[in-house]
Symmetry: D2
Subunit: 441 residues, 4 copies
């Protein structure tokens, strides 16, 4: 996914030393965050895989380290000695170009290396990376820095997965244990739903900063570009995501039993899986709903954004409401001028990343829930995947997935961008995914 | 899918009688064609279902009749008596609004009604329909005519399926019998591949004639509209579809063994299904390929368009060729001014429906193979499915499918349009589907 | 399964001619019976396969002919010309030694050869067989006659399967059509249940007539021998099979919901399949039960033997009744001196084959329902399968099946013997299978 | 499975105190052994489940404790307080009578309680049990002691499963780690194969000591009785199990590719699973075989008994050798007068439990490999399962399994008996299972 030729900023010899210091600091922060996420978890917690989509925490910790080893240390550090050469096979995720790998549905069958050995593997990589970045010649640094930046953003993607996956793991335990006890959020009523009007016309979306720069903040994934023109008809966008309270009305109105609201594949899924509510919701004896949160079992908060919805449920809800999902172009245009607050050095997990500045547009665009759009995940006009293993990052998944925008409460600080394109198959529910309504103007 | 308010042409009392005669004639032609397609088949041939996607010929013959009974005769002809009320359950396809139905994967478990009883059911419907159209009052005719037109286009869609489905059925017989012996086509070399350039910009695609008019020729499916603007970058389109000879080069170059050419889902499918060539191809002992045609087993003709390709294979081929698939908007813009020849009264099956007039644009756009586009099948801006059962026609399938354009050698005469949007999941191969290359200009 | 050395009777030149005439007559009778069974069925009926265990009628008709071709005509008639050499592949059932074959679950995918061609295949075999038996030299006749006899008994096994399989096929049609309209049987109450006492001790069971003789009546399957000693404790056997009325009491007492009555595998099957009654039973709105018979849908007759039970249901019923199933040795000892009435030339289908003579022992042993025993289907002491293809007949299935004894209303005349060992897996229900209770004395 | 009325020894008030001391000591030894088995394993190792048949070590440790809680402490100790009442749901294995339970295939989804909490659960049970046995009144002791004895034998069964299951878990790790490094055994050649002749006739097998006595050594499972007569024909039994070297000859002779050697179900399994050697064997580049042992990967020792064979493989080998498997009655008669050495207080794991005394009969009957017999696992004549939950122990599995005799190197000391009936389905290979040949005399 890296198009190295996109790295266009000038790298002067004078600029390099601070760039190296800064990169090492960014590396340290990102890597440390992964380990903070694993802290509340026992060795056993970190080992389990409860469905093929889920990976064990321990695997995430090792795979993100493998990434630096496979893409940077082995090609660019001639003296590098792997801690254990067999980890190359164990911790490759899906890079066909890098050889055979351990099958994904069997990641939970690996008790050894244990948690402590994985931590040692991380230390080994951390030290080798710090040494490489500090000591390599300038020419190597120019090649390596963009890969380090890519590796950091890659690791942040897995930080969100650590949380979504452990939530699934703990949900399969009939005791419904908490990931981490947290004080209940002070609940206030949801803001009333308003509509923002947009006039359409010829717009531009996407980013030309596709590919890593020399530092964390200059990064964009290849699938975010090229920046390109789209024609939009006038449209309206809701001021905030659909809330649990609103989604409850859909449930109580028979939403899960009315075929006419659903896509055909969605209706088949509802019936095959027996869905009657969002994932992790459970009807209490008193008729209300509890849901599983990372802080344990709790009553559903009607003011919070509805979450753990599949695309099918999002689309059915929009149908029921007489509205539709926004396209990703509409979402991006509507978000113009609104940037996420927070940055890499924040430690703001579990607090939504609010938008920065005074905002007159739609609210809660960033850091609450990923918002399903009605757009299939395809390459933008002019998109071409890069050659080689690193080109397997995004392009090969452009099929049978839908785009989500905005970022969730589990997205790590600094990792949210307006042009960011997340994507999942339409039946996926274990992510922190919700929706925001749109309509023709 | 019918948007009745689109039926805008004036219906004067004077105009009705010829309209009725014309409609009855169109009805007679379309219905007769279905039965001509079944003529070469034994009662046993017409009964078998070889995969859930395939329906028995007999079922197609009955279901297309059921459509007229369910949507027209029962609601609009108070005296109508069903031949057998249980057929309503047996021959509903997927209309949830019309009640429970026989499960799709079990359509091949129905030996009774037998072929002869199904023919009798068709006669029963034909007579009741002719009487209704001839004798109803004008107000009823205005309601009924658009539904009849819809029913005819619906039946024509099933005519193509009768051929694709029986081809699959016969292919599961190790004797590889022919549907109908045909003289081998005189093979001439394929035309050399040229490129047509298009300058892009703001274009319009889609049709506003969505919904049936009062006659066969005034029809468009709801998913073909609304007509709307799209922005296109400059692009190039190949002068003809990819040929078997060209696809053989892909095979011989290891195309089916090179992961880097494939989408991730496609690569998984290649390996799970053991694909090594298009569907219905079989390697001969001399190293060449035979394929199963409706006329029986025959050597692959290198000049003919490559066919029975999934979207995955089409996309992998385009990657290998350093090109890409066109979007459906590009395809439609490139086809501007080129209309399919032939009409309903032709009997031109198995002869490609050539384009009419002197053509200076891309060739073989209509009537050879359905051409996969790179566009996911979604509703156009402003699309809304109609209410009620008839609205289940197209919209509920807008998920995990890709658009195909152009029409194939199995598409019945008159049923090809420039704005026509066919759609299938990316792994489907049993349709007459191929591809045409595109590129950025 | 043929142990040719068992053919011990003297064959004098003088004796051969009548033996040939008799064999030809037996051949004619058995072959004709198969075709009578197919008479009520349409070409479509005869083509369908509704589960892997079920074969189409047409396949049974062809496979039984293939048997004579593969085992007799090809090896013993040098001039023999197959009607179609490809039938060898199509109609082999499971004989690994005879090469590759069409996969069993795809027998319903064969529309061609059609019914009429299969009948022509039968004529072809019939004529070739009659010519061979009439004209071959004596030495050949001695080799061939036992194989003909085996082929006849093989065909009779398939005659029962034609009925059980078509019953399943018709049951998958929601219209529940009848195989053949029959006048309802005059219902009389079931005889009261009595117990016959047996003192046990050292007994002999099994038959040494294992292998075909020179004529139909001298036959036993290899698995019926060797005759051997068994030690039996004193036991009691019920005077008749369990009736529908009795089985209804089990149902109404919650039999299908009480885990403690079931084998572990049986309980898993009950829950996975949702069993709540014998196969082909359906609860009416008035609370009673209908069942599907070959004569169509009819109310369950409380006096008739309970039928279409799996071994699991038979064992659960016996548990519920505080009794057990008999071992096959107990059954055979209890049946000593009681022989089935009827012979090959009878045409008594659908009338139970009563026992012959005045009987003072258990009643209804033959020709009502196959009776599950508690004995696993294993080889008797000293059993060895014959070498070659014909040895694949019985021995290779001696695993995970249970023995049934007695014969059912669908067993053809002449094909019932006291030593006959039928066998099916414990979850099989589509046979005419019931049970008779036993107990320790 | 306990038939309490079988507990016939006199319990005098005087005898009780030593009986209590002895029982407490036996309890301590057995419970300690389980924990010694878990010692080499990390918390992660103990958590993983690699197929539905396999349970995590941690689960075994908890479930064997649950057994004492559910069957003894809750019913007999009124003051008993569970450590966590939710464990009752988590750690029930299959006792329907004790309510709902966590689904077996999801035992590996439980990270909490963790290993340390499970150890704490064991301590809780140990203390409560010791207190109960020491302090209860005599009448309670009479009820409780047989249940304690049953619980000890139950726990020993799980001790063998801890080893077979962890072997499977570790084998799913591509690093093939060792359970415990062990010095390689000094290999000596296998003894030459000899045959022992037995004359048959009326014999007695089985044990009347079915049900626990008041102490560990007075125990037999309910399925080991009643003792009963069987008639045996003269037979021969091999002097030792089939060795790896002999099994290699079968492999090299194409044993896994020759359908005629296999049961039909076995042949289907060979092809579906791709079996080409015993489980845990892997072909080296030099053509030889390594196998996974609990001590790590090692070359196959030709002199050691062949192991990790399914019944299908055992039966195919016997066919290939022109012999057969013994019946369980033959095995037990041949073993008459030969008792296993060792007792509960031994710590002889990984050393075969030799037979005691000077033996003139077959060797290696105990403690090498479980030997498949040709006998289906069914109840002996007169067998009836006990009422209640404890009756679910053995009887409900009497279907589709075969009997194994003798005990393996993984069977704990003291847990081997001549009358012991182990049983597994014919496709099971993860146990330490091999075979010994038999033949008709």
């Amino acid at each position: 996914m890296v198009i190295v030729s996109n790295v266009q900023q000038k790298v002067t010899p004078a600029g390099i030393v601070p760039a190296r210091q800064s990169l090492i600091e960014q590396f340290r922060v990102v890597r440390g965050w992964s380990e903070r996420l694993a802290e509340p978890l026992s060795a056993e917690d970190q080992t389990i895989q409860t469905m093929p989509d889920v990976s064990p925490t321990k695997w995430h910790l090792a795979h993100t380290s493998w990434f630096f080893e496979a893409f940077i240390l082995k090609p660019h550090q001639p003296d590098y000695l792997p801690l254990d050469p067999r980890f190359h096979y164990l911790f490759n995720s899906y890079y066909e170009a890098l050889g055979e790998r351990h099958p994904r549905p069997r990641r939970g069958f690996i008790s050894r290396p244990g948690r402590d050995e994985v931590v040692a593997f991380r230390r080994h990589i951390d030290e080798a990376m710090a040494a490489l970045v500090a000591d390599c010649d300038d020419r190597t640094f120019e090649s390596v820095a963009p890969l380090v930046v890519l590796g950091l953003h890659h690791e942040q993607q897995h930080q969100e997965l650590i949380l979504t996956d452990i939530k699934h793991v703990l949900s399969c335990n009939p005791l419904w244990p908490a990931y981490k006890q947290t004080p209940p959020a002070a609940t206030t009523g949801a803001a009333p739903l308003r509509w923002h009007e947009f006039e359409g016309g010829l717009a531009e979306i996407g980013s030309d900063r596709t590919g890593p720069g020399m530092g964390y903040d200059e990064f964009g994934f290849d699938n975010e570009g090229p920046r390109h023109k789209v024609w939009l008809e006038p449209f309206r966008l809701a001021s905030r995501p659909v809330t649990n309270g609103e989604f409850l009305e859909f449930i109580e109105d028979g939403g899960y039993r009315r075929h006419e609201l659903w896509l055909s594949d969605g209706w088949a899924t509802v019936n095959a899986e027996g869905w009657t509510a969002p994932m992790y919701w459970q009807r209490r004896d008193d008729g209300g709903f509890d849901h599983l949160t990372l802080g344990g079992r709790a009553p559903v908060d009607p003011a919070a954004p509805a979450c753990h919805l599949s695309f099918y449920e999002a689309a059915a809800y929009a149908n029921w409401a007489g509205k539709r999902l926004p396209s990703e172009a509409e979402w991006e245009v509507a978000a113009e001028g609104i940037e996420p607050a927070g940055n890499l050095l924040d430690s703001g997990h579990f607090r939504p990343v609010a938008a920065s500045g005074t905002v007159d547009g739609p609210a809660q665009l960033y850091g609450d829930v990923w918002e399903w759009t009605g757009s299939a995940y395809l390459g933008y006009p002019g998109f071409r995947a890069a050659a080689g293993a690193v080109g397997e990052y995004n392009g090969k998944f452009m099929c049978n997935q839908f785009v989500l925008r905005g970022g969730s409460c589990a997205t790590p600080p600094g990792h949210i961008r307006r042009s960011y394109r997340n994507f999942f198959p339409p039946n996926a529910r274990w992510q922190f995914s919700g929706l925001r309504l749109a309509d023709d103007a």
